[in-house]
């Protein structure tokens, strides 16, 4: 018997006051002027998701890269022109470039091994899945996804979910056709289902 908590549609959105375009415009104008409240608002909206993305890719350098990303945003925000969705795409595009720069500098592909604790806390097949999954922290979830999926699949899935970007935006960031993104995310989801839910996978 699988018991699953009720999940509403709201849980799957980046629930933000910035869904109101005028509110976002005000915050961007404030951030351009250096208004601490506006900057703090943006920071609280995006820093957690940015760190989850970066820590799942480069856990040791994540905080430094995040600082670089915000510095780049600060210096470029005067020229930014777009809505809340564009802003997220811009910030994560910067993050991805900084990540690539870091990896080039360090001459390494995937530096940090997946934390074993993620697997240690995986439920045994005879336990209800909800026992572990409901207690999963956001960072554990991100790290789990990175460990289970290929690099491209994990990146696409994390950009879709953490940055709340659509297929076209992700395609633009990873410089691939939208169809490639659709195929990749489909395989990512199916791989996750197979890995995460042994009871819902028919083992032949």
């Amino acid at each position: 018997m699988v018991t699953v908590r009720h999940v509403s549609a709201d849980d799957f959105r980046v629930r933000s006051k910035f869904q109101d375009p005028s509110k976002f415009d005000d915050v961007i104008a404030g951030a351009r002027a250096g208004d601490p409240r506006a900057v703090e608002h943006l920071f609280h909206e995006l820093q957690p998701r940015l760190l989850r993305f970066l820590r799942s890719q480069e856990s040791r350098a994540a905080d430094d890269i995040a600082a670089e990303v915000w510095l780049a945003v600060a210096s470029g925000i005067a020229k930014f022109d777009g809505d809340w969705s564009d802003f997220r795409a811009w910030l994560f595009a910067i993050a991805r470039r900084r990540l690539a720069d870091h990896r080039r500098t360090a001459v390494r592909r995937r530096t940090d091994v997946v934390e074993e604790t993620v697997f240690e806390h995986r439920p045994a097949d005879d336990k209800p899945e909800t026992e572990a999954l409901e207690n999963l922290s956001a960072q554990q979830a991100a790290t789990l996804i990175t460990s289970v999926l290929s690099g491209e699949q994990a990146e696409v899935l994390l950009l879709r979910v953490l940055a709340d970007l659509d297929v076209e935006q992700v395609a633009s960031i990873v410089r691939r056709p939208p169809n490639w993104v659709r195929v990749t995310q489909h395989r990512a989801v199916r791989t996750l289902v197979k890995r995460l839910g042994p009871k819902i996978v028919v083992m032949r």
């Binding site: 699988v2 699953v4 009720h6 629930r15 609280h44 957690p48 979830a141 899935l157 791989t191 996978v201």
Partner: protein
């Protein structure tokens, strides 16, 4: 991982649309759906902020504050030489204004000079270095004659000084010939001559030096020689010859000394652009804006963002 790549045995079958719906968060999954595990992971991914994820705000605030104050410095390095060029342009503009104003002083005497064509044979002559050394017992040693003149404001009023300088500029412009002492420059020349005479008299009283009268005529600056010659030709002393001198010559007999704005303009026009304007543009933002960023920490924003991420 290779065995996971074979996804044909994954049930339930997940279509492209299903994957898209889950990743976009367009809809939730009901309680009995078999994809609940995946949704639990995705839900955790979108979970509310934790304290450890909100570090580094201060440096971000500083970065935004600095960018708001000096957006140029944080852009491309190429813009910095551009700013230097602009500032150099300002300095050149200030020099240009001074030059034009000097020309204006000469124009007040009725002759438009050609400022860069003639040498300056006699500018320092009226107040030469020896005179300065003798007279400035209490004054600061000054390198330029014009500054020495300015220091003597208790003896020579400003109008006289400016007019004298204007007359000397006229003298510079005529390539050693001196201006026409019977023309419009007469007033300026006379004023300068009177100032020189007065100055030398004062100096003589103070330190016992030679008077201008004892000075050989050939040692006089060319304009003063011309003036002296003209007075001799008229059978008058220089003082008498100058008695009927009026600003701008006989054609401007009704003109007043106050109509000579160009005589005082150089000081104003020269000072303002070069001293005050760069100070304004460079100093003010850097002083006020960082204070602004530090003085207004938000007490409400964390609460607001807490609402944003409040619901798990």
């Amino acid at each position: 991982m290779s065995n996971w790549d074979d996804l044909d045995d994954v049930t339930p079958r997940i279509s492209n649309e299903d994957a898209e719906r889950m990743l976009s968060g367009a809809s939730g999954i009901d309680e009995t759906h078999d994809l609940a595990d995946l949704n639990a992971v995705l839900g955790a991914l979108r979970g509310p902020a934790e304290a450890a994820e909100l570090t580094g705000l201060q440096s971000v605030l500083v970065a935004f504050g600095a960018a708001a104050v000096t957006p140029i410095d944080l852009s491309t390095p190429r813009t910095r030489p551009m700013m230097k060029k602009l500032l150099t342009g300002k300095a050149l503009a200030a020099i240009g204004v001074i030059t034009l104003a000097s020309a204006g002083a000469a124009a007040a005497a009725g002759v438009v000079p050609t400022p860069f064509s003639a040498p300056r044979p006699s500018v320092a002559k009226p107040v030469d270095a020896d005179d300065q050394t003798d007279e400035t017992v209490s004054d600061e040693a000054s390198a330029t004659p014009t500054t020495a003149e300015a220091d003597e404001t208790t003896e020579i009023d400003a109008t006289e000084t400016d007019a004298a300088q204007g007359a000397l500029d006229v003298a510079d412009s005529t390539d050693g010939q001196g201006p026409d002492v019977n023309g419009p420059a007469k007033f300026g020349l006379c004023t300068a001559y009177a100032a020189r005479t007065k100055h030398d008299t004062t100096t003589t009283t103070a330190v016992g030096g030679a008077t201008p009268a004892a000075e050989p005529v050939s040692d006089l600056p060319v304009p003063f020689q011309s003036l002296s010659d003209a007075a001799d030709a008229a059978g008058q002393t220089v003082a008498d010859f100058c008695a009927d001198a009026v600003p701008g010559g006989a054609d401007h007999a009704d003109a007043k000394a106050g109509d000579n704005p160009s005589a005082t303009a150089p000081g104003k026009a020269g000072d303002n652009p070069s001293v005050t304007a760069p100070g304004k543009s460079d100093d003010n933002p850097s002083v006020t804006a960082p204070g602004k960023s530090n003085d207004n920490p938000s007490a409400t924003a964390p609460g607001e963002s807490g609402e944003t991420h409040g619901k798990p």
